[in-house]
Symmetry: C2
């Protein structure tokens, strides 16, 4: 069925406002590397409309690509044919249940709106990431998003209580009730979480809420080695437990860049920098004192506690501006990696050495969430245009070889998409990929749902 | 292949100490309702031995039933033919990683030994349930065990970082590295968790550890209604957040039984009783004061704080002795149910009314973990022998009808096993069960692994 035929049929199924006149802004992906083409954009405004479109696709063998906020970094929400189904119009907060501490939302809700709805109800929804002003809950679930609060609250997977999914045959699975204990057969919810739109369309979710913080204390700590950083993390996690929300690592070079860019002085001078934050749901006047004393007594004297909200904001600006400040270095080859925390030091040493040997002019910007073992590992060659990408494959090879040697992962929080599907067989066994294919083919026998993503081509 | 032939072949594959002389103590299940027969008990002492047995079974079409501590309550670890593979000899603590806060263990480790190993390392492993002295980690994972600390720490599913599984073809999947962020294809770990031995044999796991409590405060609160109890739970969860570890409910009748049995006075007089406990990883002298003040200011004046460890123990004894104290009432028909907390009041009223109408002589003992919505709902008819079970089907029908009407689950923390597999189609859609069958048949095409459990017969 060609695009005109699809359009004709879909016009009968959907209402006019579900068929946007100008799809332009939905086609190019966030990284400007992938572009949707030869497809029809639809924006259903109800679960029933999603089901109608899906049934139409199933009956006519039309490919279908689900899209949320289109903020993904691996080309997962890009269509090359058939229908591009954007969830933006499914954007209602359905219910808040304070007894069960849950919020039930449409999949097209923007993350920031879910955070705001929680706050309005006197609660806290912890998922937080750079694109929270435009990314959508459905996409966060499909990619198992991570972000800033994983150390304390886990990834999106840990925050989902229940899901509503339109299967590739158009049938609805709806388990939105907040059940805190339930073991009735294989847990299919977790198969859909992280499935990147290949198994159906998530239309709604019930998510966990938490108590908001009443006390926040933020410290900047300089350490001479990753080893010292990991030692501090190990002991402070046991002392302050779930209060520890953030434990961010920055290299001397990363901080220099951001300090110059932000026009904010470095809080301390050191080879490695840590930004750590504690929160408490109770007012606790002495928390800052306890933290300062703890750092001092354990020999982390090269440290500063934020003495005001302004100073705290400065700490975070230094951390958050690293990305922006490195743009002058040229085009970066980025890596979304994570590993056991205990192996971060070896990874940085071994991988860094090999890269510097191979590319003497390379600059490496290292920062990230040491608290959960995930790093931003950005490499720059002195090439300012897209010719830098010519080395991407070779650089990826080196970085991923080292990350696998440290039992790490090549996809920490951005998922697989188009970008990394040829890497999947390196991190999953043949039996696992066969099982993934069996799941895919049971639900989507004609391979219509985001067909060229996640699973490697046969 | 008959049992003698199996034994002959297995004797060649395994060493003598992996073939126990007397299997008697492994055959009868915990509830004395199911018994293994016509099977050969093996106790491999290495992952390699497990693989050898599994390969033998796959090659010869021999059924295989994995068994941990044999403490299950739904007949899940009972074999009716082939091999009964008991994991008890795979019982080593493999590693503790304090930077990542994880412990890696053999599947046959007894839960209590894992708790003890964590404690020895200055950490806390939170899974805790009545059979912890004999149940095994592999069984806890296979059944997604719940227990006393779910309110704060989640079920076993939430505590598993990584798994090692021998697949039905004998191949090993091993993902024991502690990755706190990882999204590489469909999350198969969660398919194995809760799969009740139908998809392979879990041989090892990496589990989360936590900081131990430095402060514990325990209160007993009398309330006039479930409504009042849920209101308190709602607000106290937001005030004290993750400090709230236990929020246990007992009916007047349940407490009377236990008080008489335990020879401990009831702390307060009321229609409904709550036992709640807060813990904190920091020393916090004023926590008891804060809790008392909170209860008083919110109108929960009919309450007592434990003033000593002895008093705290008495509170818990009253709660824990309910099971033992009800034995004089006769044979109980038990229900392992959970529901949204907000619907507990309606369930108790509606289900109780119908049961009392149908069975005027019935006594109902209600208690459980209100904090996570799961209840022990035990019904007694004045029949002291097993004739009580004649009414089991009819009573189940009523209770489950009401629990489903409240969006609850018929299997909160004991899983499905043999006992409830004919109920699965009531709580999962046809598409979901088809997907479960597809998963099962991809991994275990000859249906050898715990074949008659979990999934309803075709």
């Amino acid at each position: 069925m060609n695009l005109n035929q699809i359009r004709e049929k879909i016009q009968i199924i959907l209402t006019e406002n579900e068929l946007p006149q100008d799809p332009t802004s939905f086609l190019l992906d966030q990284r400007k590397r992938y572009i949707s083409e030869n497809c029809l954009l639809v924006q259903p405004n109800s679960v029933e409309s999603v089901q109608k479109v899906v049934r139409f696709c199933a009956e006519n063998g039309v490919p279908i690509t689900p899209q949320g906020g289109n903020t993904g970094l691996v080309g997962g929400s890009v269509a090359k044919s058939g229908i591009l189904l954007n969830l933006s119009k499914l954007n209602k907060i359905r219910a808040i249940n304070l007894a069960d501490n849950t919020i039930t939302v449409d999949a097209g809700c923007v993350l920031q709106n879910v955070q705001a709805a929680a706050q309005e109800a006197g609660r806290f929804f912890p998922l937080s990431l750079a694109s929270e002003g435009s990314c959508q809950i459905g996409g966060n679930i499909a990619c198992n998003a991570g972000g800033l609060n994983v150390l304390r609250y886990g990834t999106m997977r840990d925050l989902v209580v229940g899901l509503e999914v339109v299967l590739p045959n158009g049938e609805l699975i709806s388990h939105l009730q907040p059940l805190h204990k339930n073991t009735t057969g294989y847990e299919l919810k977790h198969v859909f979480i992280g499935s990147e739109g290949t198994l159906g369309i998530i239309t709604g979710a019930t998510l966990k809420l938490f108590a908001p913080a009443q006390t926040t204390e933020t410290a900047w700590v300089g350490v001479e080695s990753i080893h010292d950083a990991v030692n501090l993390l190990t002991s402070i996690k046991n002392q302050f437990a779930e209060r520890l929300c953030s434990f961010e690592l920055m290299s001397r070079f990363a901080l220099q860049l951001s300090s110059n860019f932000s026009k904010i002085n470095q809080p301390v001078d050191s080879d490695w920098h840590l930004l750590l934050e504690l929160t408490d749901s109770l007012k606790r006047e002495d928390l800052g004192h306890l933290l300062a004393e703890y750092l001092y007594q354990n020999g982390y004297e090269n440290s500063v506690l934020a003495q005001s909200e302004q100073e705290r904001q400065n700490f975070w600006t230094l951390r958050e501006n690293i990305s922006a400040s490195q743009r002058d270095l040229g085009v970066s080859i980025k890596h979304d990696i994570a590993m056991p925390i205990i192996q971060v030091a070896d990874f940085l040493e071994n991988c860094g050495s090999e890269l510097q040997l191979e590319y003497p002019e390379m600059r490496i910007v290292v920062f990230g969430h040491l608290g959960d073992g995930s790093l931003h590992y950005n490499t720059f060659l002195p090439v300012k245009d897209n010719r830098a990408y010519e080395q991407e494959g070779a650089i990826n090879q080196i970085v991923y070889r080292h990350i696998l040697a440290q039992n790490g992962t090549i996809a920490a929080e951005h998922a697989i998409g188009s970008l990394k599907k040829h890497w999947l067989a390196q991190v999953r066994t043949a039996d696992e990929i066969l099982l993934m294919r069996a799941i895919k083919s049971q639900l989507d026998p004609n391979n219509l749902f985001n067909a060229d993503k996640l699973l490697p081509s046969v």
